[in-house]
């Protein structure tokens, strides 16, 4: 019951199933009564969807199929002809430590971005929607924290690169700030042997660089997640909260037994879309350091790796790049299935338990 309410009203996700069912029913009806005029009118439908279908087939479907085809070929460099080599690229992919390393980097960065993102967005959306708390400046806050989401990722990456300093630019704003607080790195001067205080070279640190990519992703996305969750909360009928408070439920209890379970489908949606987006993370890790994933290739995400293999400067191994594409796709599907099976079941369990209260 409660899931239906949300399913009807959230942006994309839960309504889909219902939508399909209703379409099937309508189509059945259509077959039953074929009044000539109406059937004629309905043919207009093809006219309206034709541009979409044509462009979709040319620029979306065919390139996707072509990627699959190329992944079985030996296409690289400037030549345009290729021959098929079977699963060679895939065997190579399975044994490629750089691919698995890049996958690991992607997971780590995505995880350190997503967990705080969802956690904070959840807490904030509950607080901001809480009538009893009655926070001031909600609209302004929402507007401010959502703003980074619209900014050009390339510019954002370069901005953070400049703030934390790269190469010689070690006295960048971040270091000035830290120095003002009294934090400096120490280094032993190779000539005199004295200990010299100097600026932090942030981008030499693997942990810092990964952390910064995760931070930027978090910075750009938690506002969006928060707004989606807030929209989800507004769809929960107030009567549920009212009756709960009549029964003497505290605000933490209503959060736990009403808000969180009813937000579960939306959180699942956020998790899946964020995971799909995270698997394609490119602009920030690509632009933040040397476009290859420095330091030590530890912020080289799968898409950065694919780009450097197939589309980067001087490297044009298209067939292997296509295999990496398919590899990323397969991993994404597996993860999506794991998420759905794992979380769907648990939400069913929760719902059954919740039924008693």
């Amino acid at each position: 019951m409660s899931e239906d309410i949300i399913g009807q009203e959230t942006k994309t996700q839960p309504g889909e199933k219902r939508e399909n069912i209703s379409l099937i029913n309508e189509d059945k009806k259509l077959n039953r009564r074929k009044i000539g005029h109406e059937a004629k009118t309905n043919r207009w439908g093809y006219f309206f969807v034709a541009p979409f279908i044509i462009i979709f087939c040319i620029f979306n479907l065919w390139p996707t199929l072509y990627t699959f085809i190329l992944s079985f070929s030996d296409l690289q460099g400037l030549k345009t002809d290729f021959k098929f080599v079977g699963f060679e690229n895939y065997f190579k992919l399975l044994k490629d430590p750089y691919f698995w390393g890049a996958l690991g980097n992607t997971f780590i960065i995505w995880g350190f971005n997503f967990v705080p993102q969802l956690g904070l967005a959840l807490v904030l959306s509950i607080w901001l929607s809480d009538i009893r708390l009655n926070l001031t400046g909600k609209g302004l806050f929402r507007a401010v924290v959502y703003m980074p989401n619209l900014l050009t990722a390339v510019s954002v990456a370069l901005l953070f690169r400049s703030i934390f300093g790269y190469n010689a630019h070690v006295n960048a704003p971040a270091n000035q700030f830290l120095r003002a607080l009294g934090f400096q790195a120490t280094k032993i001067d190779p000539i005199t042997g004295e200990t010299v205080k100097q600026a932090f070279e942030f981008f030499r640190s693997v942990a810092f660089s990964r952390g910064l990519v995760a931070f930027i992703q978090w910075w750009m996305w938690y506002g969006y997640t928060m707004i989606i969750l807030m929209a989800g909360i507004t769809t929960i009928p107030i009567s549920l909260y009212e009756s709960a408070s009549i029964d003497g439920a505290s605000s933490s209890q209503t959060t736990r037994y009403i808000t969180l379970p009813l937000l579960r489908p939306i959180m699942l949606y956020i998790l899946v879309t964020s995971m799909i987006g995270g698997m394609q993370m490119f602009d920030i890790p690509f632009q933040l350091t040397d476009m290859l994933g420095a330091p030590q290739y530890k912020i080289r995400t799968t898409t950065v790796y694919q780009y450097n293999i197939a589309l980067g400067r001087g490297s044009t191994n298209y067939s292997y790049g296509a295999a990496i594409s398919v590899g990323i796709f397969i991993v994404t599907i597996i993860l999506a299935l794991i998420i759905f099976f794992f979380l769907q079941d648990r939400s069913e369990l929760k719902k059954n338990k919740g039924g008693a209260t």
């Binding site: 279908i53 620029f59 926070l135 280094k187």
Partner: protein, 383 residues
């Protein structure tokens, strides 16, 4: 409300302010640094310990290395190449013979000051590590007075200087704006119009195969966009459309996410009565869509337009693999060029370039934030 709730409320407000600051501080740093000279950005460092008069100034101008004027009252000035144990002056003279045309740029980091000497063509000739109490010279032919380098909030001369550095080295800002605007506007108009058509077709007509189409749309939304990128690149290369805007604009016609958004909105605003009434009046189906349906859809079309426009404006990977001539560069590609060697050590100009690329969005957003945020959830939420 009891005092515990009051405390909680207070704590939450503090957290919100903190998060708001985190959202704004990078932008603030960007704007402030865009109005500074590179020397200021590198820090208002004290070059000679104990002599505050020089704080902030990292450039002393000399017409000739032989007649250096030290604007110090007292204190020792050494400028030694510590690596070689010789004085810098000798080093400079040895390299050039003449010492007029040489430019010395300071990497003014007080922790480990370094000095780079550039020749006329801006190629680095030598690097020096210098100790803390070293004066660094910039022989750029201009006179810099004491105190000139103290940072101001907005310093028009600095902005102008940064602007000149930026645009003088190939950052074709207006061209970039024009290109990005052209691509984004075309893509948005086409995407919105044809997505509205598709959504309308799916919503109103019960034709065979629409269930299939709807399923395809839902699947495509979930597909990673980079899945097809190699095939896309190869396909575009083969039909000789690389370095053209067509592959950046036309694919927008098949925007699955936009169709979904608009269809969801149609479900809530469209009534069959309205369409039937128009049909009785004898209106053609396409005419009905253009004249009656589109005006009703305006709020959703406007909201989605913004997101499509911003998406196209910000997109980097596709233009970066397709566009090769610099004349056609869109803004993100132009911003990427700020990484190049040509802007090395020109941090003021780099910040200004980044700021210029972000300002249109920030300004637009500051006026439209309410509408944009409500547009985020417009497709699926009852108002």
């Amino acid at each position: 409300m009891n005092s515990r709730d009051e405390l909680k409320r207070y704590a939450i407000h503090v957290l919100l302010i903190l998060l708001g600051l985190i959202a704004i501080v990078p932008i603030y740093l960007l704007l402030i640094n865009a109005t500074r000279t590179t020397e200021q950005i590198n820090g208002r460092i004290q070059i000679v310990p104990g002599k505050d008069a020089f704080a902030g100034s990292t450039s002393i101008v000399t017409a000739n290395w032989d007649s250096v004027e030290f604007p110090f009252e007292s204190g020792t000035v050494r400028y030694m190449d510590l690596n070689k144990g010789r004085t810098l002056k000798e080093e400079v003279n040895k390299k050039t013979g003449v010492n007029e045309k040489i430019v010395v740029k300071a990497i003014t980091d007080s922790f480990s000051p370094r000095l780079t000497i550039f020749d006329d063509e801006d190629h680095p000739m030598a690097n020096f590590n210098l100790k803390n109490n070293t004066v660094i010279f910039v022989n750029d032919g201009q006179t810099v007075k004491k105190g000139d380098n103290l940072a101001k909030l907005v310093d028009p001369p600095n902005v102008i200087y940064n602007w000149r550095v930026l645009t003088g080295r190939g950052f074709q800002i207006w061209q970039g704006f024009g290109n990005s605007a052209f691509v984004a506007i075309c893509a948005t108009v086409l995407s919105i119009y044809f997505s509205a058509m598709t959504a309308y077709g799916l919503q109103v007509y019960k034709f065979r195969g629409r269930l299939l189409l709807w399923t395809v749309i839902l699947i495509v939304i979930m597909l990673p966009a980079t899945l097809s990128i190699i095939g896309f690149f190869q396909f575009i290369s083969r039909i000789k459309l690389r370095d053209s805007y067509i592959p950046l604009i036309i694919p927008g016609i098949a925007a699955a996410g936009t169709v979904l958004f608009l269809r969801q909105y149609m479900t809530s605003v469209l009534s069959t009565d309205l369409i039937d009434a128009a049909r009785i009046d004898g209106a053609n189906e396409y005419h009905i869509f253009n004249v009656i349906i589109l005006p009703i859809m305006v709020p959703a079309l406007a909201a989605q337009s913004i997101f499509t426009f911003v998406g196209s404006w910000n997109s980097f990977i596709t233009p970066s693999i397709l566009l090769s001539s610099e004349k056609k560069y869109t803004l993100p590609l132009l911003v990427q060029s700020l990484r190049g060697n040509i802007y090395r050590a020109e941090y003021g100009a780099i910040y200004l370039g980044i700021a210029i690329s972000l300002l249109p969005i920030i300004i637009f957003y500051s006026f439209m934030s309410r509408f944009i945020i409500s547009g985020l959830t417009m497709g699926g939420l009852k108002e």
